[in-house]
């Protein structure tokens, strides 16, 4: 563990405590300092801050850049030492030991803590970006260096991933030791026995490949920039730092939360996020309405139960839950296409009611087909995730807190790639077609866009995400009950997407987190005029009020917000549902 030295099975730290007392603060301080420096630098370049009495300040970054760019070995060494000392001080200040701050042995002692290496890496990374910027401004024709080689970039990415895995490994003790890297038996202290290691290495590989492909991407950026005209302009480095920070918080913070919130976050909010991201493709990107989203979730869950032999009907062979996921995706997509193809040729509100019916049918069948699904009493124990390969031992076994954490990282391993996939999908040809169909279907068709194809595609992609969520949650919960797939769940997911802001991935995630927390709160508290049994009533009220006062959601996507404004001014539509009449008052 890289945070406070407490046992994972007894997390002593509350959420605030953890956020304020550990190295998380260090990274935040560092991020703020870096951001301030970047903003300052930008303003100086834009000529805003270049007044004469500040010239000595403006000289600092220029000199620093020139200093670094001059590439003397001694200067680099000096810089390395300075960076190291800075990192050690940040580590000391934000470390878990309250007493003896600034004592030299404490500062040096920080070298024993894994998180210190995280700070060092980030400082060097940011210095490196400054150096690259300085170079690219100084010379237009850049000589290809060793670091431009494709294999160096990819290998570097992999090594960086391994390094990050070591810094952020939730199961390693806080004190750094070379023995982590030894290939021992199935010890908890063995770095190579933790599946997060492989996850981060894979992420590192992805970053490396992306860096290697950057030249091509920059060429394409000319075309893409038109579509980003209304976005806040963030430089690639800042965006990368933001993503890294968010990822860091997502990875680190749950370790310090108490058991109650761990369960809430992992079981409820995590699944909500996955469901909401999927439904966002249908509602937010394609502008359709799916009211039976939970049916695909049920399909995924029952697929998992079937292939692990938990249902009365037995499969020809049982397979590992990891391999059920592609099957569940296929099943959910197939169901989506079968429902979507006949329905989406018509006005879009047919889809809403057909999916509503489909959700109800799945619920009725699950409750009543006792010889297939075990009926309302629930199935046997559905397959859980376990993996036992050389070097990777991963298992979700029981109800231990360690298990919750394992499940959380598993969810993260699905959510993050899906997020990136959906985001790039939304900025690809497919996403632009969705936008075109949303805004004006007739015009889109006349430009040769096959509207039916893209609508069915969005519907099936959304359904597949729900299927994955079904497999994951059935693996975590064990037995499956038809009551988990009631209409209420579908509508709750609609609330998540609508409240957060349809079409905005960030909004949808924050919406799920907020509504997830709020529902948890409403389920277990009662206050004046409120009774937990009325939870759904207030959810309904939230839907109506959101539609009346802020249809674009709390954190809207810029484009969706504009579409709503335009639609209200009779310019195009903001959905793929056709138009209503009676806009006259």
């Amino acid at each position: 563990m890289t945070g406070p030295e407490s046992d994972l099975s007894t997390p002593l730290y509350t959420f605030q405590h953890a956020l304020l007392s550990t190295h998380v603060v260090g990274f935040i301080i560092f991020g703020v300092a870096l951001g301030a420096f970047m903003v300052y630098n930008k303003k100086v370049r834009a000529g805003i801050l270049n007044s004469s009495w500040r010239k000595w300040i403006t000289a600092i970054p220029t000199n620093l850049r020139a200093f670094i760019a001059s590439s003397g070995l001694i200067q680099k060494a000096i810089l390395a030492v300075v960076a190291l000392v800075v990192a050690l001080f940040i580590a000391d200040f934000t470390g878990p030991y309250v007493a003896h701050k600034m004592a030299w042995n404490q500062v040096i002692g920080q070298l024993l803590h894994t998180r210190t290496y995280g700070y060092i890496a980030i400082i060097f990374w940011s210095l490196n970006t400054v150096r690259v910027r300085a170079q690219s401004r100084n010379s237009n024709a850049k000589a290809p260096s060793f670091f431009d080689a494709t294999w160096v970039k990819i290998l570097g990415g992999v090594l960086a991933g391994l390094f990050f895995a070591a810094c952020a490994d939730p199961w390693l003790p806080v004190r750094f030791s070379l023995s982590y890297f030894k290939w021992s038996g199935s010890s908890d202290d063995d770095f190579f026995h933790h599946w997060t290691t492989y996850l981060w290495t894979f992420c590192g590989l992805l970053v490396g490949v992306r860096a290697a492909l950057q030249d091509r991407m920059q060429r394409r950026a000319v075309v893409q920039s038109r579509w980003k005209a209304n976005h806040i302009k963030v430089s690639a480095n800042t965006r990368f730092a933001l993503y890294a920070g968010a990822l860091f918080i997502a990875v680190e913070s749950p370790k310090f939360i108490d058991a109650y919130w761990q369960e809430t976050i992992f079981q409820q909010i995590g699944i909500f996020c996955l469901l909401a991201i999927g439904l966002n493709v249908v509602i937010g990107f394609a502008g359709l309405l799916d009211l039976g989203y939970v049916a695909f979730y049920a399909l995924g869950a029952y697929t998992n139960a079937y292939f692990s032999g938990a249902l009365p009907i037995h499969p020809p062979f049982t397979i590992n839950t990891f391999f059920v996921i592609p099957i569940a995706i296929l099943v959910a997509m197939l169901a989506g296409v079968i429902l979507g193809l006949p329905t989406l040729r018509l006005s879009g509100d047919y889809l809403a009611i057909v999916t509503l019916g489909f959700g109800e049918i799945i619920y009725v069948l699950a409750s009543n087909l006792t010889n297939v699904t075990d009926g309302a009493g629930g199935t046997g124990t559905a397959g859980s995730f376990s993996m036992n390969l050389p070097g990777i031992h991963f298992a979700l076994s029981g109800f231990a807190i360690q298990d919750d954490l394992n499940f959380y990282y598993l969810l993260l391993a699905f959510i993050i790639p899906i997020l990136f996939f959906f985001n790039s999908l939304n900025h690809s040809k497919v996403g632009r077609s969705w936008a075109a169909i949303r805004e004006d279907e007739t015009a889109a068709r006349s430009l040769g866009i096959n509207a039916l194809k893209y609508k069915v595609m969005a519907f099936a992609i959304g359904a597949s995400t729900s299927g994955v969520a079904g497999v994951l949650s059935s693996a975590k919960l064990g037995a499956i009950f038809p009551s988990d797939f009631a209409l209420q769940v579908s509508i709750t997911v609609v609330v998540l997407v609508i409240f957060g802001g349809m079409g905005s991935i960030l909004g949808v995630l924050l919406g799920s987190a907020f509504i997830g927390w709020f529902l948890q709160y409403l389920t277990f508290h009662s206050f004046v005029g409120y009774n937990p049994a009325d939870k759904s009533m207030w959810l309904g009220a939230i839907l109506i009020l959101t539609m009346i006062f802020r249809p674009q959601g709390m954190i809207p996507s810029k484009r969706r917000m504009r579409e709503f404004k335009d639609a209200e001014a009779n310019l195009g539509t903001a959905d793929s549902l056709g138009s209503t009449t009676g806009g006259v008052t």
Partner: protein, 303 residues
């Protein structure tokens, strides 16, 4: 077999009543009123409480029973109409005033449905309650080897009256003419002096009355529950699509037809829970083969 056909016809009549509500609103607003199931539910509760307070003793004369029944029909219809107009007023009109996109209407309607359903659960409790029966006659009428009870005959009578009434209302009266005008072209209708907002409210009220009465009959045949409206409303929507959504006579025929198609297979498979499954499959099949329904979509033109 014949008894299943009869069951289908009489259940189908209830669906027809509900389907008229869907069809009217769709014709006027080009919008599926997702909150219509709650109109049904409130009509059921209205009828339940009317019967609960009037049927204090079981020993009442036939004349009084008939009066109570008429009162219950009017009361539940009125409650349905009020709730439907309230839904229009609070969930739709603020959006219409802003000329909002259709997606927001659907979501707002779902919100209204969820709110009303759980509000009913809060006020009337979560447990189903048995409705007092005003029709206690054991009289039954034998047709083609199947017996038709007094309840079924009352249902047939009431729906026949309501069908005639709505047909006359839409084709002959001034309100009906304005409903058809708005359904054809709202903007032009408003230029011709039709008050679009009150016409839409009237449409919801008429559809709500039908839905409320349907709710009463569902309540009398089973128990009253806060989510009583969901499945019948879904099936009624299927009936509306079967008959051609936007077409009132189509909705009437579609309901009965759907009832027959749905109950006849039950005769062979003996599993009553398959009823919504069959209905839903029919919905998807119609949408695949003939999305305009058997009789075509036309509120503005024919009806």
């Amino acid at each position: 077999m014949a008894s299943f056909v009869a069951l289908g016809i009489f259940t189908g009549l209830i669906y027809s009543l509900v389907a008229i509500g869907y069809t009217l609103v769709y014709g006027v607003l080009r919008l599926i009123n997702f909150a219509h199931s709650e109109v049904l539910m409130s009509g059921a509760f209205g009828g339940y409480y009317f019967l609960h307070y009037t049927m204090k003793s079981t020993d009442v004369s036939t004349i009084v029973r008939v009066l109570i029944l008429i009162g219950a029909v009017v009361a539940s219809g009125a409650i349905g109409a009020i709730v439907a107009v309230a839904i229009e007023r609070f969930a739709y009109r603020p959006l219409r005033r802003r000329n909002a996109p259709k997606l927001t209407y659907l979501i707002s309607a779902i919100g209204a449905s969820l709110f009303l359903q759980n509000f009913a659960a809060k006020v009337f409790g979560h447990n189903p309650s048995a409705t007092p029966q005003p029709i206690t006659s054991n009289f039954s009428w034998n047709v083609f080897g199947t017996s038709i009870s007094a309840f079924d005959m009352v249902l047939l009578l009431v729906t026949a009256v309501l069908f005639l009434a709505i047909n006359t209302l839409v084709t002959k009266t001034k309100v009906g003419r304005s409903i058809r005008a708005v359904a054809q072209d709202a903007e032009t209708a408003s230029l011709m002096g039709v008050n679009v907002n009150s016409t839409i409210a009237a449409t919801f009220a008429v559809g709500g009355f039908m839905g409320g009465v349907a709710g009463l009959f569902i309540a009398m045949s089973t128990t009253v529950d806060y989510n009583i409206g969901f499945t019948p409303a879904l099936l009624a929507f299927t009936a509306a699509v079967l008959g051609g959504i936007g077409n009132i006579r189509g909705a009437m025929a579609g309901g009965v037809l759907l009832g027959i198609i749905m109950y006849v297979p039950i005769y062979w498979i003996h599993q009553p829970f398959y009823e919504p499954v069959i209905g839903f499959t029919i919905l998807v099949l119609i949408l695949m083969v003939r999305p305009t329904g058997l009789f075509g979509e036309s509120l503005g033109r024919s009806a």
